[in-house]
């Protein structure tokens, strides 16, 4: 009975998987794999965001980070994206860290000096077929034993 239900569910869901936004699925898959690779303290990310941008366009989001905690800020983009810039901003809006050398997979590691709301900005610096899909996640890192 369970097998039949699974098959029926697969038949119903198949068109959506086949004909849905494959670029959205592509970046979600990449982000999930990137989180898997990280030494995370939890599989649940603090924040997750995805969307699409044309070349030279940017998007921002805000996230609260806790003092003393280490975080990985990951950004991925689709196959047509050639360069994605990732910036961490303080609550006042000034740059704390910027990653623009990793082309389509920029990553920042950050330990919050104080509990505050921080800003994250992504800029699509290169996209061969506009718009390019991107996804961001902020995940807490496992504390290394001292």
């Amino acid at each position: 009975m369970r097998t039949v239900a699974t098959v029926l569910l697969a038949i119903v869901a198949l068109p959506a998987l086949l004909f849905g936004q494959r670029w959205e699925q592509q970046v979600q898959g990449r982000l999930a794999r990137a989180i898997d690779v990280m030494q995370t303290s939890s599989r649940l990310s603090v924040v997750k965001r995805s969307g699409m941008l044309n070349t030279d366009e940017g998007a921002s989001l805000q996230t609260p980070l806790v003092e003393g905690e280490s975080y990985a800020i990951l950004a991925v983009c689709d196959d047509d994206c050639t360069r994605l810039q990732l910036t961490l901003l303080s609550s006042s809006g000034s740059d704390i860290a910027k990653e623009r050398n990793s082309e389509s997979f920029p990553t920042l590691r950050f330990t919050a000096a104080r509990t505050a709301v921080y800003g994250i900005r992504v800029v699509m610096e290169g996209c061969r077929w506009n718009p390019c899909w991107y996804a961001i996640a902020v995940v807490p890192l496992r504390k290394t034993p001292s």
Binding site: R22, D56, W129
Partner: protein, 392 residues
């Protein structure tokens, strides 16, 4: 004395005849051009104002309708080809299916499958206008670019007109050749949306350049004429044969760079292609591209409507995408994709459609012979007269 009076009367009557022929009627004024050049009469200021206002209303109405449709449209996730919406009548499901089948084949013929930017085609079936408001756009195609929508949808509003309205509603006999023409009409109706679908949103410099020229170089992605082989802006502007005077009337009504390009001059072709590339055009939001009623009369390159489609086919997808999304100035990006100077490549492309015209004065042989004969005759008479005269 009597004969002098008669000639004075004849002269006055002739002047009156000329005045009736050339002076504009009451309420209209001359454009100030030479009376020997064909000109249309301008309307009164009040009428011009009313027409400009109606034009603005139509444009705003087209934008609002497209924005409303954007909210309403439900996408069929099973189809990669454009979603089709009909406005003005409710169609039976089998008629909709037939039209979607034609659209699917058009989409495949353009080499398109699943695309990042999807297209929604709103077909406006003809209906009677209201007396309170100007008639909505019935003869112009409007496009709402993805920047204005959700970045992934390009919308086209395509007025069907009386002919295609009857065809779509099944009130006209559907012969096989009618389906071919209908497919051509649908393909041409995709306009800039076909480019958005195939190559995504262009980079800033290309977007600004195309917006400045109302997308005249990117109106048709197909490889044939916009509605069959002999329906291009070239054929519509230059009808007939260079032996006929109306052919040259057509040539000299075109901008100088267009004429120079027709003559095979690379500098003219370069100017015709790069017009609008130097200026930084502010793209409005909502960004509605309206294709003029007589669009072929405003083309700066003939047949420019297929120019970018031909460039894309010539250079291949990768190089065309490099140009399309480039941050460099248009001329540099296009020359890099073509691997040749823009003017030279375009002059060769132009030669593929029309044999370079000859510019400059070229008197017909018969007229030259007659003029020479008259000149020789006059010289002979003068010489003969002079030889008989004696100075005493």
């Amino acid at each position: 004395m009597a004969s002098v009076k008669r000639w004075v009367v004849v002269g006055l009557v002739a002047c009156l005849g000329l005045a009736l022929a050339y002076l504009p009627p009451r309420g209209a004024e001359s454009s100030g051009k030479s009376p020997f050049v064909g000109q249309s009469l301008q309307a009164t200021h009040a009428r011009q104002y009313a027409q400009a206002l109606a034009e603005k209303w139509r444009n705003a109405d087209a934008a609002v309708r497209l924005l409303e449709d954007r909210q309403r449209v439900k996408r069929d996730s099973l189809r990669a080809s454009p979603t089709i919406v009909f406005r003005g009548a409710t169609l039976p499901p089998n008629a909709i299916r037939d039209i979607e089948t034609v659209m699917d084949s058009v989409w495949r013929a353009l080499g398109l499958g699943e695309t990042k930017v999807r297209v929604t085609l709103v077909i406006e079936l003809q209906r009677p206008g209201s007396v309170d408001t100007p008639t909505p756009l019935q003869d112009r195609v409007a496009y709402l670019t993805p920047d204005t929508t959700d970045r992934t949808t390009c919308m086209a509003s395509l007025p069907a007109g009386p002919y295609w309205t009857l065809f779509i509603l099944g009130k006209r006999e559907a012969r096989p050749e009618e389906f071919v023409r209908f497919a051509q009409w649908l393909q041409a109706g995709l306009g800039p949306c076909a480019f958005y679908a195939a190559y995504g949103t262009p980079g800033r410099s290309v977007r600004s350049w195309l917006a400045a020229r109302h997308w005249d170089l990117g109106r048709y992605l197909g490889s044939h004429g916009i509605a069959g082989e002999r329906f291009t802006s070239l054929d519509l502007n230059l009808m007939g044969d260079p032996r006929f005077p109306w052919y040259w009337d057509g040539v000299y009504s075109l901008p100088p760079a267009t004429v120079a390009c027709l003559a095979g001059r690379p500098s003219g072709c370069r100017a015709a292609v790069l017009a609008g590339a130097a200026e930084e055009w502010t793209i409005p939001i909502p960004n509605v591209v309206l294709i003029e009623r007589r669009w072929w009369q405003t083309q700066r390159l003939l047949p420019g409507e297929r120019y970018l489609g031909d460039v894309a086919r010539a250079v291949g997808r990768d190089r065309f995408l490099d140009f399309w999304t480039s941050a460099q100035p248009v001329e540099m990006a296009l020359a890099a994709a073509l691997k040749r100077p823009v003017g030279e490549w375009t002059a060769d492309w132009e030669r593929g459609f029309v044999r370079p015209i000859r510019l400059g004065p070229t008197p017909p042989l018969g007229a030259a012979v007659i003029a020479l004969a008259i000149a020789v005759l006059v010289l002979t008479v003068v010489a003969a007269t002079a030889s008989r005269r004696q100075v005493r």
